[in-house]
């Protein structure tokens, strides 16, 4: 077994470790639950989970997140819980949205804008080629939301960009691709919902500090928050 004193001595200058320790000690974190497909067959399980969460946690709206960063503390009686819903599936509207609203939660919907924009006949092939998994036995016809459904979600929840094509940033990603995935996805979502969209997340969840090339575009086009695997980074 590793001798833990030796282990930590070896890693004592590790910035990732320092950051983790400081964040946990100070309480500089928030809890989140990530959902993808939300099938009709799982309604019972989903409701059970949300009912459980509503008992112990508070919803988190965009304003709540703004206030949390601004005031430097969470002031509600129960800890905050962000519920993230990924990929823009049709069942995220039909099944998940009513459940979130029944239990008073704000959903943070991370949508690849290009997926929603596609004709129905092209969605399954796109999903298969862009790491958007779906149940091939259950899927009939449309598998993505449509823009009307996105706008209905937008009334009570947070619409976020999850790139244009569900893209995973690489260190050598071309600038043209970065522009499309970061800037054009934002522009398309804003055109459809009629207001600013200022939350972004990559496929693969890289954070801002580890993607400086992409970071240039992310800040220039006005995103305020970047969600990654380990963090929520406030950019402006």
């Amino acid at each position: 077994m590793i001798n833990n004193k030796e282990f930590f001595a070896h890693n004592s200058q590790n910035k990732d470790l320092d950051e983790l320790v400081d964040a946990l000690k100070q309480g500089s974190y928030i809890r989140a639950v990530n959902y993808h497909e939300t099938y009709e067959r799982d309604i019972g399980e989903l409701e059970k989970q949300l009912k459980f969460f509503s008992r112990y946690f508070s919803p988190v709206s965009k304003k709540d997140l703004d206030d949390f960063f601004y005031n430097r503390e969470w002031t509600r009686d129960k800890p905050g819980l962000i519920i993230s819903v990924f990929e823009g599936y049709k069942n995220n509207f039909k099944i998940m949205k009513p459940l979130l609203e029944k239990y008073g939660f704000t959903g943070w919907y991370f949508i690849p804008a290009g997926f929603i924009e596609l004709p129905v006949t092209e969605q399954k092939e796109f999903a298969s080629n862009h790491s958007i998994y779906y149940d091939t036995e259950q899927a009939e016809g449309r598998i993505a939301m449509n823009w009307d459904e996105v706008r209905k979600i937008d009334k009570k929840h947070v619409i976020c960009s999850h790139t244009m094509t569900h893209y995973c940033f690489e260190d050598d990603s071309p600038h043209e691709i970065l522009k499309k995935e970061i800037i054009e996805s934002k522009a398309l979502l804003e055109k459809k919902v009629g207001h600013e969209v200022d939350v972004f997340c990559w496929l693969g969840g890289k954070d801002f500090k580890r993607s400086p090339r992409a970071g240039q575009y992310i800040t220039e086009c006005g995103y305020r928050y970047l969600f990654s695997n380990n963090k929520i980074e406030k950019l402006r």
């Binding site: 990732d16 969470w74 800890p79 963090k231």
Partner: protein, 112 residues
């Protein structure tokens, strides 16, 4: 960090118990169908607009220290068979394990 760690390193018996708990949680995490079930995570809050780095406090108070110690010991177990350098991927695994253990059905038991 060294001063903090030296004060709180677990004694051998507690370390072994924590290792068993960690392995159980990781097994649950690996068997989970992430595409269908809610996957809990902790997200660190990082304000890149603030040079002062004033603390952001979630309000969990005393729980924070327990969470920190758990995370550090889980990291030990996680790196036991590999090299000792901690990577961002390791941090993700540990934050996920903490979330699985400390704010889902596992932690709250029979809540019905």
């Amino acid at each position: 960090m060294d001063k903090f760690l030296n004060s709180y390193i677990l004694v051998e018996e507690e370390f072994e118990k924590a290792k068993n708990e960690y392995e159980e949680v990781i097994k649950i995490r690996q068997e989970r169908n992430e595409g269908e079930k809610g996957v809990p995570v902790y997200l660190i809050l990082d304000d890149l607009t603030d040079d002062s780095k004033e603390d952001i406090r979630s309000g969990d108070s005393m729980f924070n220290l327990f969470l920190t110690i758990s995370a550090l010991n889980y990291l030990c177990f996680h790196k036991e068979e590999a090299d000792l350098d901690i990577t961002p991927g390791d941090i993700s695994i540990i934050l996920g394990a903490l979330a699985e253990k400390y704010f889902t059905f596992l932690s709250y038991g029979n809540w019905q």
